[in-house]
Every structure is written in structure tokens, then in C-alpha cells.
């Protein structure tokens, strides 16, 4: 059976690449620290020696729009282009091509259907920055095949936080049952408190630093009970109108299970708190 050697849950700040590759005199003051933290985080994936990546993100109205918006979708393509024109324009993110892993995509899709998750699917999926940002930060050589999973954290009505957790648990079971000797890592990106296009956007910190602190503690201690007792769509809206991306971090903890993270780091930037968490579900996998 396949081995799940690492689970990563990270924020995806689309300006990381631009901020850390600009000429030094144009960089924000935190750029060097940001780069150090990201490179340390990258090492938590590298040492798990993954061979396939299950990538969890959320399309930001790039391929999907309100005429046909899936709650959950899996990519089943042999290959994935990434980065849309408006992401290159706004964030300076380059285009990528990632190899797919059709066998795991098929196995995953069937396993999800069998477990009551009626996923939409796509055979021609172009990936956006929710998946490419974590590739840039954690696997910049972009050399591993991926199975992309998209969630709706963006176009209400949204699935519940509990549903994201349960989906993570189901994905874990399916990875554990995948008949392969491959080493798999799961990487998902989301947000802590975040405001976009609203009165609390682009402040010195994220819109709700207290939520951010609490959320990192819950994730790093594997405390799903506290999350499900405290986090609702309404509570997330109070923390910032785009905070619902936190549910993708809940999903990732679902893949890991209710266990403490082996690695947890954060960085307060203008506009957001960045969080970097890694779990090693197999004891001793962190060699």
C-alpha cells in the first residue's frame, strides 16, 4: 500500500515570489525572514521524499465561475497547465506545467464516491495560484505528478467545516488503500483571517489576529473538537470576508488526523498572517 509520508497545510500568499525575488532595494522589510521561513518549511516536505503530491486548493474564478461552480472537484488529467493571465498580471506568477497521476486520480475519485463524496471531475483543468503558490514555496522544481482537488471556500453556499474535516479523513483512507509502493504527500493551501474587497483589507496585519493565533494553536495541536465547536461560516465572516479558506486547512488536518503537527511556524505580514504546518502521519517518517 502507498505510504502517506507528510501532510502540509499552508497559507498561499500570492506575492511570495514577487516579494522575495524583487531587487533588494525594492523588497518589503520582512522579505528575507519570509524567504528563510519558507525554505525551512520546504525542508519538511523534502525530507519526506514524496513521489506523488495530492494538492488541495480552491479555484478563484479562474477556470470555474458562478454558471457552474463545483463544491468539490478532482482533476483527472494527464497533465495540468497552471497560472492564468490575470494571475500573471497581478501577482507576477509564472506559468507552469505539472504532470498528473491519472491512476491515483481515478482511484481517489472512485474512493470518494464510495464514501459519499459525490465529486465533480475535470479532464481538462488549468490550475490557479491556490495550487501553484504551494508548489513555488514547497516544491519549486515542480517535478512530481499531482492529483489536484478543488474545494469551494469562495462562492456561497459553502460546505460546512465538518464536511471539510470528514473529506480530509476520507482522502486519508483512500491514500492508505492505494495499491502502490509510492510515497505520497498531501499539500493544501488556504487562509487564516482574510479580507478581500472589504473595509478591513490590506491593513498592517490580517483582519483578526486573535483568530489567527487561536487557529494556529488548534491546527498545531490537532484539536479538531475545538475547531468544530468554535468555527462556523458566520464566525469566519466576522474574522474577515474571505476567512473561509481556513476550511482547506481543516481538511488538511483531516488527512493527518487529530494529532499534533510536527512542524508549525507563522509570519505576520501586511494583510495576512502566514501559517506553515506539517504533520508526519507515519511514526518515524521524518527521517
Amino acid at each position: 500500500m502507498a505510504r502517506l509520508t507528510a501532510v502540509l497545510a499552508t497559507t498561499h500568499h500570492p506575492f511570495y515570489l514577487k516579494a522575495t525575488t524583487a531587487p533588494v532595494e525594492q523588497q518589503i522589510p520582512q522579505a528575507a525572514e519570509w524567504k528563510r521561513k519558507v525554505e525551512a518549511y520546504r525542508e519538511t516536505l523534502t525530507k519526506a521524499e514524496p513521489e506523488i503530491l495530492v494538492m488541495v486548493g480552491a479555484d478563484h474564478f479562474h477556470q470555474f465561475f458562478l454558471d457552474n461552480y463545483p463544491q468539490f472537484l478532482i482533476g483527472k488529467a494527464p497533465r495540468y497547465d497552471a497560472t492564468f493571465y490575470n494571475e500573471e498580471r497581478e501577482f507576477g506568477i509564472p506559468k507552469y506545467v505539472l504532470e498528473g497521476h491519472e491512476e491515483l486520480s481515478r482511484f481517489m475519485h472512485k474512493g470518494l464516491l464510495d464514501r459519499g463524496f459525490d465529486f465533480a471531475f475535470s479532464n481538462e483543468l488549468k490550475l490557479d495560484h491556490s495550487i501553484i503558490c504551494p508548489i513555488i514555496t514547497t516544491r519549486p522544481q515542480a517535478d512530481l505528478p499531482v492529483v489536484p482537488i478543488y474545494t469551494n471556500i469562495f462562492a456561497p453556499p459553502l460546505p460546512s467545516p465538518k464536511r471539510f474535516w470528514d473529506l480530509g479523513r476520507a482522502i486519508r483512507e483512500i491514500i492508505d488503500e492505494f495499491p502502490s509502493d509510492k510515497r505520497i504527500a498531501a499539500i493544501g493551501s488556504g487562509h487564516l483571517s482574510l479580507e478581500l474587497g472589504g473595509p478591513r483589507q490590506f491593513r498592517e496585519t490580517g483582519p483578526d489576529p486573535e483568530f489567527d493565533r487561536q487557529a494556529i494553536e488548534w491546527l498545531s495541536t490537532g484539536n479538531i473538537d475545538a475547531i468544530l465547536a468554535n468555527v462556523t461560516h458566520e464566525s469566519m465572516a466576522k474574522s474577515g470576508n474571505a476567512t473561509h479558506g481556513f476550511m482547506d486547512l481543516i481538511l488538511m488536518m483531516g488527512i493527518a488526523g487529530p494529532i499534533p503537527a510536527a512542524y508549525s511556524d507563522c509570519l505576520s505580514l501586511f494583510h495576512t498572517m502566514e501559517a506553515y504546518l506539517t504533520w508526519y502521519p507515519e511514526e518515524g517518517a521524518a527521517r
Binding site: F61, D67, R89, P157, G197, G198, Q201, F202
Partner: protein
């Protein structure tokens, strides 16, 4: 009112460099063109007869009025992205980085602490 159609406008224009340029340079003219030939399109063959703008929606789009669009429930991501594309460069040159984004927030300051207009459901 068609919140969906407002979002469709923002979505289709933001992803097309030529439409975006025309929306920046002459919003009224681009909006008229869009209503005639782009908004109704489902694909290169099929057209929809279902949606149209109210006068208030037309006015908000023509005036790049971020506060009015917010209050109509236009999706926050679409509205932020398209107006950054249109205004960020000139505001940054004039008033420094993030000055447009901060001014955008200031125009919505009266919504802080209140429930925002819904963007869906």
C-alpha cells in the same frame, strides 16, 4: 437586479486584456458592447436571453463604483482584482504601494462591524 450578471461582467472583463483595457479607457462604451455581444454569450454558438442589468448596476459598473458594487453583493474577489488591475499602477506611482487598496477599504469603512451584503446564497 442581477448580481449574477454584474459578476459575469467583472469575470469576463478581468480575464481578457483587451476588454480590460477598454473598460479602463471608456467604461460606458465597453459596457454597451458587453451587453450586446458578450454578456448573453454561453459559448460561440449559444446565447442566453435571461439576464440584464438594472440602471443602478449599469451606473455602478460605468463609474467603477466599488462601494455600490459591494452593496449590490458583487463578489469581493472579482471586484478587488479588476479594480487593482485598473488603478493600482497609477495610485502606486502617485501615492505609494497599496494606496489604492487602502482607499478602496476606506470607501467601505461604514460597513465595518456590520454584516456585509451577501455575495451568494
Amino acid at each position: 437586479m442581477s448580481r449574477y450578471y454584474v459578476n459575469k461582467f467583472l469575470f469576463t472583463v478581468d480575464r481578457d486584456p483587451d476588454l480590460l483595457r477598454r473598460y479602463k479607457e471608456n467604461p460606458k462604451s465597453l459596457l454597451a458592447t458587453w451587453e450586446q455581444s458578450i454578456g448573453p454569450q454561453l459559448n460561440s454558438v449559444e446565447f442566453s436571453t435571461v439576464n440584464s442589468f438594472t440602471d443602478a448596476e449599469r451606473e455602478a459598473l460605468v463609474n467603477h463604483d466599488v462601494a455600490a458594487l459591494f452593496e449590490m453583493g458583487a463578489h469581493f474577489f472579482l471586484s478587488l482584482t479588476i479594480f487593482i488591475a485598473i488603478y493600482d499602477e497609477e495610485w502606486t506611482a502617485r501615492s505609494g504601494p497599496l494606496s489604492f487598496q487602502k482607499d478602496f477599504a476606506k470607501r467601505l469603512a461604514h460597513w465595518e462591524g456590520r454584516d456585509y451584503p451577501p455575495v451568494g446564497e
